[in-house]
Symmetry: C2
Subunit: 497 residues, 2 copies
Amino acid sequence: MTLTESKDFSHLFSEETKARKPSPLKTCIHLFNDPNIVFLGGGLPLSDYFPWDNIHSQSPLPPFKNGIGSKITGLKDDTLEYVVSRDEKVEKADIPFKKSLQYGATQGQPEILEFLREHNKLVHEFNYSDWDSILTTGNTNGWESTLRIFCNKGDVILAEAHSFSSSLASAEAQGVITFPVPIDSDGIIPEKLESILDNWTPGSPKPKLLYTIPTGQNPTGSSLSDERKEAIYKIACKHDFIIIEDEPYYFLQTGPYLKDLEQRKKYEDQQEQQNHEQFLKSLAKTFLSLDTEGRVIRMDSFSKVLAPGARLGWLTGSKKILQYYVSLHEMTVQGASGFSQSIINGLLQRWGQDGYIDWLKGLRSEYVIKRNNAIDYLHEFLPASGPFTINPPIAGMFFTVTIDATAHPDFKTKFNSNPKAVEQHIYETIVKNGVLLVPGCWFITEGETTPPQPADSKQIQNPNEIFFRGTYAAVAAEKLREGLKRFSECLKEEFGF
Amino acid sequence: MTLTESKDFSHLFSEETKARKPSPLKTCIHLFNDPNIVFLGGGLPLSDYFPWDNIHSQSPLPPFKNGIGSKITGLKDDTLEYVVSRDEKVEKADIPFKKSLQYGATQGQPEILEFLREHNKLVHEFNYSDWDSILTTGNTNGWESTLRIFCNKGDVILAEAHSFSSSLASAEAQGVITFPVPIDSDGIIPEKLESILDNWTPGSPKPKLLYTIPTGQNPTGSSLSDERKEAIYKIACKHDFIIIEDEPYYFLQTGPYLKDLEQRKKYEDQQEQQNHEQFLKSLAKTFLSLDTEGRVIRMDSFSKVLAPGARLGWLTGSKKILQYYVSLHEMTVQGASGFSQSIINGLLQRWGQDGYIDWLKGLRSEYVIKRNNAIDYLHEFLPASGPFTINPPIAGMFFTVTIDATAHPDFKTKFNSNPKAVEQHIYETIVKNGVLLVPGCWFITEGETTPPQPADSKQIQNPNEIFFRGTYAAVAAEKLREGLKRFSECLKEEFGF
């Protein structure tokens, strides 16, 4: 089947994007490699002056037989030694430092982009022809750029009613209004989203974007089902907004928490025995895979699967839109670090697509253990019935515990029937007792809207329900257990259990 | 002498800067390293999962006895081998990858910042107490952030009448008006600058910033004298604007071009024999060194002295201002690449301050040769008298040739007395003949101002004078000679010489 091209969404661009002129210097850059031209146009230092002749790395070797995170021995059966050179390609698809450490290639070096396009094809279905990927310096950069590409001051965007506070703050600092979309334990509720938009105050500017973290959402830990995604995509088409899927946790899809140990063992064995095709098929369908028009922009990142400080991620979407990101990035980040690109590309090219999938699969196993530990400990320390609800995630790094604030003995007296006061009191208490989880109110999406819009999520969620977000990513099992013990003891003490 | 603190310049901040709230997550981050707290707050992956155990580099060894850019042998007398490890500090001031590849430290890792502070103290005098440096991902990022920190849409900034087109375009895309400051062959003319500001239309918003490239200016190649800098700094205090000194070429101070070969040899020998103190003393005084109030922000970069693709630079200025850059960067770039930081820091710590000065001094020698070659070739190929003026720079990567457009035989006829038409015609002709230099009109600073301001530079500079910018940085001597021969032949042909 021949795919058609993506639609034009330039009517949603910001003033800034419309005003950005290409640099005149770019009009001659194609002559740089013309053998008939002596190019005296650009201030590029000679690569002979780059003081790194070659860089040699010791890394784990697929299929990572001792598991992700185990010490490598330096021996051939678990250790990959590779060299990236300044001047030559040691491997065919290497990026020598003379290229990656030079100016140019704001969109990313061709070799690593090609690897990522191939990876994309394994993970997503593409339903229009002119899709592409470009590098970012991570999803923080990808999101900031997205706001600049689409939003003017006063524009409205949609976001999950609880969302990643830095993403919300970034929008709010730019004068962009963040409008909360009602969520439940499975993420955005499509019917509520549709009702908000169907009843949007006439004449009031409609949202340009939906910002969503579909998998292992931060902070709630929820994951959107394929069905909900389909419904949300339809609403996006109907009400003409762009979907930004921010997916740093996508490959940490642990699957359901199974309390029964026998069931659990069986499920984990099945996971373990998946071949690559089965593994990829087990992953949630992406918004990108549903997109027939080019209105989805996906943000992927190496931060959670290789290392955050690599500052390397990629955007995937319609070329018609991505070219404007490249123009913006020429004036902002210029491009991702050449060290990051050469070193990560050097690793990925030697691992190959298969080795990288081995890595992602191995990483999932690690997070299955971590997630199970966290939820097991909570079940161990918290009463089975009462005001506390443990919410086991099926993906990501975060779990939450929701609490009925009205169950606190002092709710009506000391706390004046104010659930937020209970939340703040518990936060202070747990920190005093040596454990830190983050109160849910830190993640509330609450931009002002003028005129006020209907179906505000604050009226839909139970206002007396508070929650705390914890992570099992950052600490070893024993410490996690101790932390959750302290947390649970505090809750029981406070609520009289 | 005890230095006093910098002044408060928050009245010059943008709406966005004033609106930016610190992330609530940052209020608890100090508890991350508290041994009494089990920190389940942040989604940080375990560093055991970062797939690089150690990275080993081969780099040149100070004092670079065979010169910068010569091949290293791998032997002890010219080759530095160093290892940066994921888990340990191999050298005391190393940044292990478990730190640099983790989240955190938006301002930069402490080890490399400390190196840069020490370097700063060698290069500048500081006249107020609370200065500091923070990392950027290069000066493109530093400048973009500067615009976001200070400017609202409609604000005015000052820039050299010809300036780096990408910097101007970045401002213009944000709706910031770039106002041209008259320049001559020595850069900004302080008297003209003062007159513009003294006669600024009352009630019209005054410029918040002066953007300047003081050393080896792009595109003119000019360098500001210490005296002009002093005068400009006084005007900045009088008219309350911030000075942004963008100094990527600062260490490429080649000194004057000497046509006489005997004089040249003597001068170069003197340069060669300079010890580090003499070398540093020979450098131009910086705006930073003149600053008593904290109204200068300096942008330094490794792009021209180590490698552009490292995407690593630093800002130096008042802590009171820099802290707002850090808050902005938390939401934009998050931080420079950890690979770049660990690898460059690893090199610099082993070179030491002295080794780094050796490198910079060696690099200067390279650029002296390159600059001399370019100007020699131009003298060889262009007539000594006539409409062409060769402008030998004393620093940087760029030279210019100015041309009296009225001298073209077809000026009044074919070109309708329009110098820009001559410029475009010459550009097309040289490209057709196999050489590319960039026409001066690509660098014109010309924002609109409402109401129009007096002393517009366009009335001051000779409107019939056009110029071309060339670089001697990017090509080897032979190719440079061939390119400049082609360029000169075209000019002579066109102007009938």
